[in-house]
Protein backbone atom coordinates (compact mmCIF):
# COMPACT_ATOMS: atom_id res chain seq x y z
CA UNK A 1 0.00 0.00 0.00
CA UNK A 2 1.18 3.47 -0.85
CA UNK A 3 -0.29 6.86 -0.15
CA UNK A 4 -3.45 5.61 1.42
CA UNK A 5 -4.14 3.37 4.35
CA UNK A 6 -6.53 1.42 2.18
CA UNK A 7 -5.93 -1.03 -0.60
CA UNK A 8 -6.92 0.85 -3.74
CA UNK A 9 -7.95 -0.67 -7.05
CA UNK A 10 -8.39 1.73 -9.92
CA UNK A 11 -11.17 0.22 -12.02
CA UNK A 12 -10.70 2.55 -14.96
CA UNK A 13 -7.53 4.28 -16.05
CA UNK A 14 -6.42 4.77 -19.62
CA UNK A 15 -3.57 3.34 -21.58
CA UNK A 16 -2.55 5.99 -24.09
CA UNK A 17 -1.29 3.67 -26.78
CA UNK A 18 0.10 4.97 -30.02
CA UNK A 19 -0.69 3.24 -33.25
CA UNK A 20 2.99 2.38 -33.66
CA UNK A 21 2.75 0.20 -30.58
CA UNK A 22 -0.03 -1.86 -32.11
CA UNK A 23 1.44 -2.32 -35.56
CA UNK A 24 2.95 -5.74 -34.98
CA UNK A 25 -0.38 -7.08 -33.80
CA UNK A 26 -2.32 -6.39 -36.98
CA UNK A 27 -2.69 -9.06 -39.65
CA UNK A 28 -1.78 -8.28 -43.23
CA UNK A 29 -2.53 -6.27 -45.24
CA UNK A 30 -3.11 -3.95 -42.32
CA UNK A 31 0.33 -4.37 -40.83
CA UNK A 32 2.01 -3.13 -43.97
CA UNK A 33 -0.43 -0.28 -44.22
CA UNK A 34 0.30 0.74 -40.64
CA UNK A 35 4.03 0.91 -41.06
CA UNK A 36 3.62 2.66 -44.37
CA UNK A 37 5.54 -0.14 -45.98
CA UNK A 38 6.43 -0.69 -49.54
CA UNK A 39 3.91 -0.44 -52.29
CA UNK A 40 0.83 1.65 -52.40
CA UNK A 41 -0.85 0.84 -49.07
CA UNK A 42 -0.30 3.29 -46.29
CA UNK A 43 -2.70 3.97 -43.44
CA UNK A 44 -2.84 7.10 -41.37
CA UNK A 45 -4.24 7.05 -37.90
CA UNK A 46 -7.14 9.18 -39.01
CA UNK A 47 -7.97 6.50 -41.52
CA UNK A 48 -8.46 3.94 -38.78
CA UNK A 49 -9.87 5.66 -35.75
CA UNK A 50 -12.67 8.15 -35.49
CA UNK A 51 -11.34 11.08 -33.53
CA UNK A 52 -13.06 13.32 -31.04
CA UNK A 53 -13.06 17.11 -31.02
CA UNK A 54 -13.10 19.58 -28.16
CA UNK A 55 -10.04 20.70 -26.21
CA UNK A 56 -9.78 18.48 -23.15
CA UNK A 57 -7.12 20.63 -21.54
CA UNK A 58 -9.26 23.80 -21.79
CA UNK A 59 -6.68 25.36 -24.07
CA UNK A 60 -3.77 24.71 -21.78
CA UNK A 61 -5.42 25.40 -18.44
CA UNK A 62 -5.25 21.78 -17.35
CA UNK A 63 -1.67 20.61 -17.16
CA UNK A 64 -0.33 17.22 -16.31
CA UNK A 65 3.21 18.18 -15.41
CA UNK A 66 3.72 14.97 -13.50
CA UNK A 67 2.45 13.00 -16.47
CA UNK A 68 4.72 14.86 -18.87
CA UNK A 69 7.58 14.07 -16.52
CA UNK A 70 6.63 10.41 -16.35
CA UNK A 71 6.53 10.21 -20.13
CA UNK A 72 9.86 11.97 -20.44
CA UNK A 73 11.45 9.50 -18.05
CA UNK A 74 9.90 6.46 -19.67
CA UNK A 75 10.34 7.63 -23.25
CA UNK A 76 6.69 8.16 -24.13
CA UNK A 77 3.57 6.36 -23.06
CA UNK A 78 5.11 2.91 -22.88
CA UNK A 79 4.39 0.01 -20.56
CA UNK A 80 7.21 1.05 -18.23
CA UNK A 81 5.28 4.14 -17.28
CA UNK A 82 2.50 2.26 -15.51
CA UNK A 83 4.24 1.72 -12.16
CA UNK A 84 4.87 5.48 -12.04
CA UNK A 85 1.22 6.17 -12.77
CA UNK A 86 0.19 3.74 -10.04
CA UNK A 87 2.55 5.30 -7.56
CA UNK A 88 1.39 8.79 -8.41
CA UNK A 89 -2.25 7.80 -7.95
CA UNK A 90 -1.55 5.64 -4.93
CA UNK A 91 -3.25 2.55 -6.29
CA UNK A 92 -2.33 -1.08 -5.79
CA UNK A 93 -3.97 -2.41 -8.92
CA UNK A 94 -5.07 -0.73 -12.11
CA UNK A 95 -7.36 -1.55 -14.98
CA UNK A 96 -6.05 0.15 -18.09
CA UNK A 97 -8.49 0.67 -20.88
CA UNK A 98 -7.42 1.56 -24.37
CA UNK A 99 -7.56 5.25 -25.05
CA UNK A 100 -8.30 4.85 -28.73
CA UNK A 101 -11.15 2.48 -28.13
CA UNK A 102 -13.21 5.31 -26.67
CA UNK A 103 -14.40 6.25 -30.12
CA UNK A 104 -15.01 2.61 -30.97
CA UNK A 105 -18.77 2.84 -31.15
CA UNK A 106 -18.57 5.31 -33.95
CA UNK A 107 -17.09 2.68 -36.24
CA UNK A 108 -20.19 1.91 -38.27
CA UNK A 109 -19.27 1.42 -41.87
CA UNK A 110 -16.42 -0.97 -42.70
CA UNK A 111 -16.85 -2.67 -39.38
CA UNK A 112 -13.81 -4.84 -39.94
CA UNK A 113 -11.83 -2.12 -38.19
CA UNK A 114 -13.54 -2.82 -34.90
CA UNK A 115 -12.50 -6.45 -34.90
CA UNK A 116 -8.98 -5.67 -36.10
CA UNK A 117 -8.42 -3.04 -33.46
CA UNK A 118 -9.94 -5.03 -30.63
CA UNK A 119 -7.77 -8.04 -31.39
CA UNK A 120 -4.59 -6.04 -31.98
CA UNK A 121 -5.07 -3.99 -28.84
CA UNK A 122 -5.84 -7.04 -26.72
CA UNK A 123 -2.84 -8.94 -28.04
CA UNK A 124 -0.55 -5.96 -27.56
CA UNK A 125 -1.75 -5.44 -24.00
CA UNK A 126 -1.34 -9.11 -23.17
CA UNK A 127 2.09 -9.26 -24.72
CA UNK A 128 3.57 -6.02 -23.47
CA UNK A 129 1.53 -4.41 -20.75
CA UNK A 130 -0.59 -6.47 -18.41
CA UNK A 131 1.10 -8.04 -15.45
CA UNK A 132 -1.22 -9.41 -12.79
CA UNK A 133 1.70 -9.93 -10.41
CA UNK A 134 2.17 -6.14 -10.47
CA UNK A 135 -1.55 -5.41 -10.37
CA UNK A 136 -1.77 -4.33 -14.01
CA UNK A 137 -4.87 -5.42 -15.90
CA UNK A 138 -6.90 -4.50 -18.92
CA UNK A 139 -10.23 -5.13 -20.58
CA UNK A 140 -10.67 -6.32 -24.11
CA UNK A 141 -12.60 -3.85 -26.23
CA UNK A 142 -15.64 -5.70 -27.52
CA UNK A 143 -15.98 -5.43 -31.32
CA UNK A 144 -19.73 -5.56 -30.98
CA UNK A 145 -20.14 -4.46 -34.58
CA UNK A 146 -19.34 -8.08 -35.48
CA UNK A 147 -20.88 -10.25 -32.77
CA UNK A 148 -19.41 -13.46 -34.12
CA UNK A 149 -15.89 -12.08 -34.01
CA UNK A 150 -16.58 -10.59 -30.60
CA UNK A 151 -17.49 -14.05 -29.32
CA UNK A 152 -14.31 -15.48 -30.82
CA UNK A 153 -12.22 -12.86 -29.04
CA UNK A 154 -13.99 -13.50 -25.73
CA UNK A 155 -13.51 -17.23 -26.05
CA UNK A 156 -9.88 -16.76 -27.02
CA UNK A 157 -8.66 -14.49 -24.22
CA UNK A 158 -11.10 -14.54 -21.30
CA UNK A 159 -9.03 -17.11 -19.46
CA UNK A 160 -6.07 -14.71 -19.33
CA UNK A 161 -5.56 -13.42 -15.81
CA UNK A 162 -4.67 -9.98 -17.13
CA UNK A 163 -8.03 -9.61 -18.87
CA UNK A 164 -10.68 -8.69 -16.35
CA UNK A 165 -13.58 -7.56 -18.48
CA UNK A 166 -15.04 -6.89 -21.86
CA UNK A 167 -15.59 -3.23 -22.55
CA UNK A 168 -18.42 -1.75 -24.59
CA UNK A 169 -18.14 1.94 -25.36
CA UNK A 170 -21.61 3.35 -24.93
CA UNK A 171 -21.48 6.28 -27.33
CA UNK A 172 -23.54 5.60 -30.37
CA UNK A 173 -23.99 1.88 -31.05
CA UNK A 174 -26.78 1.20 -33.50
CA UNK A 175 -28.85 -0.66 -32.53
CA UNK A 176 -28.35 -0.05 -28.80
CA UNK A 177 -26.89 -2.75 -26.59
CA UNK A 178 -30.14 -4.34 -25.50
CA UNK A 179 -30.76 -5.55 -29.04
CA UNK A 180 -30.88 -9.30 -29.56
CA UNK A 181 -28.09 -8.96 -32.10
CA UNK A 182 -25.67 -8.76 -29.17
CA UNK A 183 -27.09 -11.77 -27.30
CA UNK A 184 -24.28 -14.09 -28.41
CA UNK A 185 -21.74 -11.69 -26.92
CA UNK A 186 -23.49 -11.65 -23.56
CA UNK A 187 -23.90 -15.40 -23.68
CA UNK A 188 -20.16 -15.83 -24.26
CA UNK A 189 -19.27 -13.33 -21.54
CA UNK A 190 -21.55 -15.07 -19.07
CA UNK A 191 -20.14 -18.49 -19.98
CA UNK A 192 -16.60 -17.19 -19.52
CA UNK A 193 -17.50 -15.37 -16.29
CA UNK A 194 -16.33 -12.18 -17.95
CA UNK A 195 -17.84 -8.97 -16.53
CA UNK A 196 -19.16 -6.61 -19.19
CA UNK A 197 -18.26 -2.98 -18.68
CA UNK A 198 -20.22 -0.24 -20.38
CA UNK A 199 -17.94 2.76 -20.56
CA UNK A 200 -19.22 6.22 -21.49
CA UNK A 201 -17.84 8.18 -24.40
CA UNK A 202 -19.13 10.64 -26.91
CA UNK A 203 -18.40 14.08 -25.57
CA UNK A 204 -16.82 15.74 -28.59
CA UNK A 205 -18.28 18.92 -29.96
CA UNK A 206 -18.57 17.88 -33.58
CA UNK A 207 -19.69 14.31 -33.14
CA UNK A 208 -22.25 15.06 -30.45
CA UNK A 209 -25.66 13.60 -31.32
CA UNK A 210 -27.21 17.04 -31.60
CA UNK A 211 -25.35 19.70 -33.53
CA UNK A 212 -24.82 23.25 -32.46
CA UNK A 213 -23.41 23.13 -28.95
CA UNK A 214 -20.52 25.54 -28.72
CA UNK A 215 -18.47 24.45 -25.76
CA UNK A 216 -16.97 21.14 -24.78
CA UNK A 217 -18.36 21.52 -21.26
CA UNK A 218 -21.83 21.24 -22.78
CA UNK A 219 -21.21 18.22 -24.93
CA UNK A 220 -19.15 16.44 -22.29
CA UNK A 221 -21.68 16.98 -19.51
CA UNK A 222 -24.38 15.64 -21.79
CA UNK A 223 -22.56 13.18 -24.00
CA UNK A 224 -21.07 10.88 -21.41
CA UNK A 225 -24.31 10.95 -19.49
CA UNK A 226 -26.64 10.36 -22.42
CA UNK A 227 -24.50 7.57 -23.80
CA UNK A 228 -24.81 5.63 -20.55
CA UNK A 229 -28.45 6.53 -20.10
CA UNK A 230 -29.35 5.27 -23.53
CA UNK A 231 -27.58 1.95 -23.06
CA UNK A 232 -28.79 1.20 -19.54
CA UNK A 233 -32.33 1.86 -20.77
CA UNK A 234 -31.91 -0.53 -23.66
CA UNK A 235 -30.28 -3.26 -21.56
CA UNK A 236 -32.92 -3.14 -18.86
CA UNK A 237 -36.03 -2.79 -21.01
CA UNK A 238 -34.91 -5.54 -23.35
CA UNK A 239 -34.32 -7.80 -20.36
CA UNK A 240 -30.61 -8.57 -20.78
CA UNK A 241 -30.33 -9.28 -17.02
CA UNK A 242 -33.23 -11.73 -17.36
CA UNK A 243 -31.74 -13.44 -20.39
CA UNK A 244 -28.29 -13.69 -18.83
CA UNK A 245 -28.83 -13.68 -15.07
CA UNK A 246 -25.22 -14.41 -14.16
CA UNK A 247 -23.78 -11.66 -16.31
CA UNK A 248 -21.98 -9.02 -14.25
CA UNK A 249 -22.81 -5.57 -15.62
CA UNK A 250 -20.77 -2.46 -14.87
CA UNK A 251 -21.30 1.14 -16.00
CA UNK A 252 -18.46 3.62 -15.92
CA UNK A 253 -17.74 7.28 -16.17
CA UNK A 254 -20.87 9.24 -15.60
CA UNK A 255 -20.62 9.85 -11.86
CA UNK A 256 -23.44 8.58 -9.67
CA UNK A 257 -26.27 11.10 -9.64
CA UNK A 258 -27.65 9.88 -12.95
CA UNK A 259 -28.35 6.41 -11.57
CA UNK A 260 -31.34 7.22 -9.32
CA UNK A 261 -32.72 9.40 -12.09
CA UNK A 262 -32.78 6.42 -14.44
CA UNK A 263 -34.13 4.09 -11.76
CA UNK A 264 -37.05 6.31 -10.96
CA UNK A 265 -37.78 7.41 -14.48
CA UNK A 266 -37.75 3.85 -15.77
CA UNK A 267 -39.91 2.62 -12.89
CA UNK A 268 -42.45 5.36 -13.44
CA UNK A 269 -42.84 4.48 -17.10
CA UNK A 270 -42.70 0.77 -16.44
CA UNK A 271 -45.76 1.01 -14.22
CA UNK A 272 -47.61 2.49 -17.19
CA UNK A 273 -46.05 0.48 -20.02
CA UNK A 274 -45.08 -2.78 -18.40
CA UNK A 275 -46.35 -4.72 -21.44
CA UNK A 276 -43.53 -3.21 -23.47
CA UNK A 277 -40.92 -4.80 -21.24
CA UNK A 278 -42.49 -8.24 -20.94
CA UNK A 279 -39.31 -10.11 -20.03
CA UNK A 280 -38.98 -8.21 -16.79
CA UNK A 281 -40.09 -9.89 -13.60
CA UNK A 282 -39.45 -6.88 -11.38
CA UNK A 283 -39.15 -3.14 -11.64
CA UNK A 284 -36.30 -1.71 -13.73
CA UNK A 285 -34.70 -0.17 -10.65
CA UNK A 286 -34.32 -3.62 -9.14
CA UNK A 287 -32.10 -4.67 -12.03
CA UNK A 288 -30.10 -1.48 -11.84
CA UNK A 289 -29.45 -2.12 -8.17
CA UNK A 290 -27.78 -5.38 -9.21
CA UNK A 291 -25.33 -3.59 -11.50
CA UNK A 292 -22.06 -1.93 -10.55
CA UNK A 293 -20.96 1.64 -11.20
CA UNK A 294 -17.59 3.32 -11.48
CA UNK A 295 -17.89 6.52 -9.44
CA UNK A 296 -15.77 8.86 -11.54
CA UNK A 297 -16.27 11.78 -12.11
CA UNK A 298 -17.84 11.86 -8.68
CA UNK A 299 -20.21 14.75 -8.05
CA UNK A 300 -19.59 16.42 -4.70
CA UNK A 301 -22.61 18.54 -3.78
CA UNK A 302 -22.37 21.36 -1.23
CA UNK A 303 -24.78 19.37 0.89
CA UNK A 304 -23.00 16.04 1.25
CA UNK A 305 -26.12 14.36 2.57
CA UNK A 306 -27.52 14.49 -0.97
CA UNK A 307 -24.68 12.29 -2.16
CA UNK A 308 -25.35 9.99 0.76
CA UNK A 309 -28.96 9.70 -0.34
CA UNK A 310 -27.94 8.90 -3.89
CA UNK A 311 -25.65 6.14 -2.69
CA UNK A 312 -28.42 4.74 -0.52
CA UNK A 313 -30.92 4.92 -3.38
CA UNK A 314 -28.78 2.85 -5.69
CA UNK A 315 -28.17 0.07 -3.22
CA UNK A 316 -25.26 1.40 -1.17
CA UNK A 317 -21.49 1.26 -1.43
CA UNK A 318 -21.68 -2.36 -2.58
CA UNK A 319 -22.59 -1.13 -6.05
CA UNK A 320 -19.68 1.28 -6.40
CA UNK A 321 -16.15 1.01 -7.77
CA UNK A 322 -13.40 3.56 -7.38
CA UNK A 323 -12.10 4.64 -10.79
CA UNK A 324 -9.59 7.37 -11.58
CA UNK A 325 -9.90 7.84 -15.35
CA UNK A 326 -6.29 9.00 -15.22
CA UNK A 327 -4.73 10.71 -17.12
CA UNK A 328 -7.89 12.25 -18.50
CA UNK A 329 -8.71 15.86 -17.76
CA UNK A 330 -11.38 15.14 -15.14
CA UNK A 331 -9.69 12.31 -13.23
CA UNK A 332 -10.41 11.53 -9.57
CA UNK A 333 -7.64 10.52 -7.18
CA UNK A 334 -8.54 8.02 -4.45
CA UNK A 335 -8.97 10.95 -2.05
CA UNK A 336 -12.31 11.56 -3.80
CA UNK A 337 -13.40 8.56 -1.70
CA UNK A 338 -11.05 8.62 1.29
CA UNK A 339 -12.00 12.23 2.09
CA UNK A 340 -15.74 11.59 2.07
CA UNK A 341 -17.09 12.06 5.57
CA UNK A 342 -20.43 10.51 4.65
CA UNK A 343 -18.86 7.08 4.17
CA UNK A 344 -18.00 4.61 6.90
CA UNK A 345 -14.60 2.96 6.94
CA UNK A 346 -16.14 -0.23 5.63
CA UNK A 347 -17.81 1.62 2.81
CA UNK A 348 -14.55 3.29 1.82
CA UNK A 349 -12.83 -0.08 1.72
CA UNK A 350 -15.64 -1.53 -0.29
CA UNK A 351 -15.55 1.24 -2.91
CA UNK A 352 -11.76 1.47 -3.07
CA UNK A 353 -11.16 -2.24 -3.58
CA UNK A 354 -13.89 -4.54 -2.26
CA UNK A 355 -16.28 -4.13 -5.13
CA UNK A 356 -13.48 -4.53 -7.69
CA UNK A 357 -12.56 -7.76 -5.96
CA UNK A 358 -16.14 -8.99 -6.20
CA UNK A 359 -16.60 -7.95 -9.82
CA UNK A 360 -13.19 -8.45 -11.37
CA UNK A 361 -11.54 -10.80 -8.91
CA UNK A 362 -8.63 -8.41 -8.40
Amino acid sequence: MGKYKYRVVDSDAHYMEGLDQLVDYFPEPWKTRMIGGSGKDKASIAGIYPISTGDRSIFGRIQRDEFTEMQRNAGGFVPEIIPDVMEFLGVDAINMLSQKMLTFSRIKGDDERATLLANAYTDYMLDKVVDPSEGIYTMMPIPFQEPKEAVELIDRVSHEKGIIGGCFVTAGPEPPFGNRKYDPIYEAAEANNLPVVFHAGGGGIDEFVSAGYEKFIETHVLGFLMANQSQITSLVVQGIPEKFPNLKIVFQESGVFWIPLMMHRLDTEYLKRQSEAPLLTKKPSEYIKEMYFGVQPLEIPDELSYLRQVIDMIGGADRLLYASDYPHWDYDPPSAITDLSILSEDEKKRILSGTANEVFGI
Binding site: P184, G239, L271, P278, L279
Partner: protein, 120 residues
Protein backbone atom coordinates in the same frame (compact mmCIF):
# COMPACT_ATOMS: atom_id res chain seq x y z
CA UNK B 1 -68.00 -7.82 5.37
CA UNK B 2 -71.46 -7.19 4.10
CA UNK B 3 -73.14 -8.73 1.09
CA UNK B 4 -74.52 -6.07 -1.17
CA UNK B 5 -76.99 -6.81 -3.92
CA UNK B 6 -75.86 -5.59 -7.33
CA UNK B 7 -78.49 -6.82 -9.78
CA UNK B 8 -80.19 -9.77 -11.35
CA UNK B 9 -77.82 -11.91 -13.43
CA UNK B 10 -79.83 -11.04 -16.55
CA UNK B 11 -78.84 -7.43 -16.11
CA UNK B 12 -75.15 -8.29 -16.48
CA UNK B 13 -74.79 -10.53 -19.53
CA UNK B 14 -71.50 -11.94 -20.76
CA UNK B 15 -69.12 -9.23 -21.96
CA UNK B 16 -70.87 -6.47 -20.05
CA UNK B 17 -69.82 -4.42 -17.08
CA UNK B 18 -71.57 -2.12 -14.64
CA UNK B 19 -70.24 0.71 -12.55
CA UNK B 20 -72.14 0.98 -9.28
CA UNK B 21 -71.94 3.25 -6.26
CA UNK B 22 -71.79 1.30 -3.02
CA UNK B 23 -71.27 2.93 0.34
CA UNK B 24 -69.74 5.94 -1.32
CA UNK B 25 -67.37 3.86 -3.43
CA UNK B 26 -67.43 3.50 -7.18
CA UNK B 27 -67.08 -0.18 -8.05
CA UNK B 28 -66.93 -1.97 -11.37
CA UNK B 29 -68.61 -5.34 -11.79
CA UNK B 30 -67.72 -7.43 -14.83
CA UNK B 31 -69.05 -10.53 -16.51
CA UNK B 32 -66.18 -11.96 -18.51
CA UNK B 33 -67.05 -15.16 -20.33
CA UNK B 34 -69.50 -16.07 -17.61
CA UNK B 35 -67.20 -15.33 -14.73
CA UNK B 36 -67.85 -12.36 -12.47
CA UNK B 37 -65.28 -9.91 -11.18
CA UNK B 38 -65.51 -6.74 -9.15
CA UNK B 39 -62.92 -4.08 -8.47
CA UNK B 40 -62.66 -0.56 -7.17
CA UNK B 41 -63.20 1.97 -9.91
CA UNK B 42 -60.71 4.33 -8.32
CA UNK B 43 -57.23 3.76 -9.71
CA UNK B 44 -54.52 3.77 -7.01
CA UNK B 45 -52.39 5.86 -9.33
CA UNK B 46 -54.27 9.14 -9.84
CA UNK B 47 -57.83 8.10 -9.19
CA UNK B 48 -58.75 7.34 -12.80
CA UNK B 49 -61.89 5.35 -13.66
CA UNK B 50 -59.98 2.13 -13.98
CA UNK B 51 -63.05 -0.08 -14.39
CA UNK B 52 -63.95 1.70 -17.60
CA UNK B 53 -60.66 0.51 -19.06
CA UNK B 54 -59.87 -2.34 -21.39
CA UNK B 55 -59.85 -5.91 -20.21
CA UNK B 56 -57.56 -8.34 -21.96
CA UNK B 57 -54.99 -11.01 -21.43
CA UNK B 58 -51.63 -10.32 -19.87
CA UNK B 59 -48.86 -9.84 -22.41
CA UNK B 60 -45.99 -12.23 -21.79
CA UNK B 61 -42.76 -12.95 -23.59
CA UNK B 62 -40.38 -15.86 -23.78
CA UNK B 63 -36.66 -15.74 -24.34
CA UNK B 64 -36.65 -18.41 -27.04
CA UNK B 65 -32.98 -18.36 -27.90
CA UNK B 66 -29.83 -16.32 -28.09
CA UNK B 67 -30.09 -13.73 -30.84
CA UNK B 68 -33.73 -14.44 -31.56
CA UNK B 69 -36.53 -11.97 -31.24
CA UNK B 70 -38.28 -12.47 -27.93
CA UNK B 71 -41.58 -14.26 -28.51
CA UNK B 72 -44.48 -12.23 -27.26
CA UNK B 73 -47.82 -13.87 -26.56
CA UNK B 74 -50.87 -13.51 -24.39
CA UNK B 75 -51.02 -15.48 -21.17
CA UNK B 76 -54.07 -16.79 -19.38
CA UNK B 77 -54.36 -14.03 -16.79
CA UNK B 78 -56.96 -11.38 -17.40
CA UNK B 79 -55.87 -7.84 -16.77
CA UNK B 80 -57.61 -4.51 -16.52
CA UNK B 81 -55.82 -1.45 -17.89
CA UNK B 82 -56.63 1.96 -16.46
CA UNK B 83 -57.52 4.31 -19.30
CA UNK B 84 -55.76 7.27 -17.78
CA UNK B 85 -52.12 6.09 -17.84
CA UNK B 86 -52.13 2.38 -18.53
CA UNK B 87 -51.50 0.87 -15.13
CA UNK B 88 -52.52 -2.78 -15.44
CA UNK B 89 -54.03 -4.93 -12.73
CA UNK B 90 -54.67 -8.63 -12.48
CA UNK B 91 -58.46 -9.01 -12.69
CA UNK B 92 -58.51 -11.73 -10.10
CA UNK B 93 -56.17 -10.34 -7.46
CA UNK B 94 -56.00 -6.62 -8.26
CA UNK B 95 -52.20 -6.75 -8.10
CA UNK B 96 -50.36 -4.34 -10.42
CA UNK B 97 -48.48 -6.26 -13.10
CA UNK B 98 -45.33 -4.20 -12.69
CA UNK B 99 -45.17 -3.84 -8.94
CA UNK B 100 -46.63 -6.34 -6.47
CA UNK B 101 -46.68 -3.65 -3.79
CA UNK B 102 -49.43 -1.82 -5.62
CA UNK B 103 -52.92 -3.20 -5.87
CA UNK B 104 -56.42 -2.26 -6.79
CA UNK B 105 -59.03 -3.41 -4.26
CA UNK B 106 -61.03 -6.31 -5.67
CA UNK B 107 -64.21 -7.87 -4.31
CA UNK B 108 -65.72 -11.30 -4.34
CA UNK B 109 -68.86 -11.67 -6.42
CA UNK B 110 -71.36 -14.34 -5.48
CA UNK B 111 -74.57 -15.50 -7.12
CA UNK B 112 -77.56 -16.39 -4.99
CA UNK B 113 -80.91 -17.16 -6.56
CA UNK B 114 -79.91 -15.51 -9.81
CA UNK B 115 -78.90 -12.34 -8.03
CA UNK B 116 -75.36 -10.96 -7.93
CA UNK B 117 -73.86 -9.83 -4.64
CA UNK B 118 -70.47 -8.47 -3.79
CA UNK B 119 -68.77 -8.56 -0.43
CA UNK B 120 -67.54 -5.22 0.74
Amino acid sequence: MTQVLICHVDELPVGERKIVELEGKSIGVFNIEGKYYAASNTCPHRGGPVCTGRVGNELLADFVGVGLRVKEHFGPNLVLACPWHGWEFNMETGVHLGDPQISLPVYTVTVQDKELFIEI
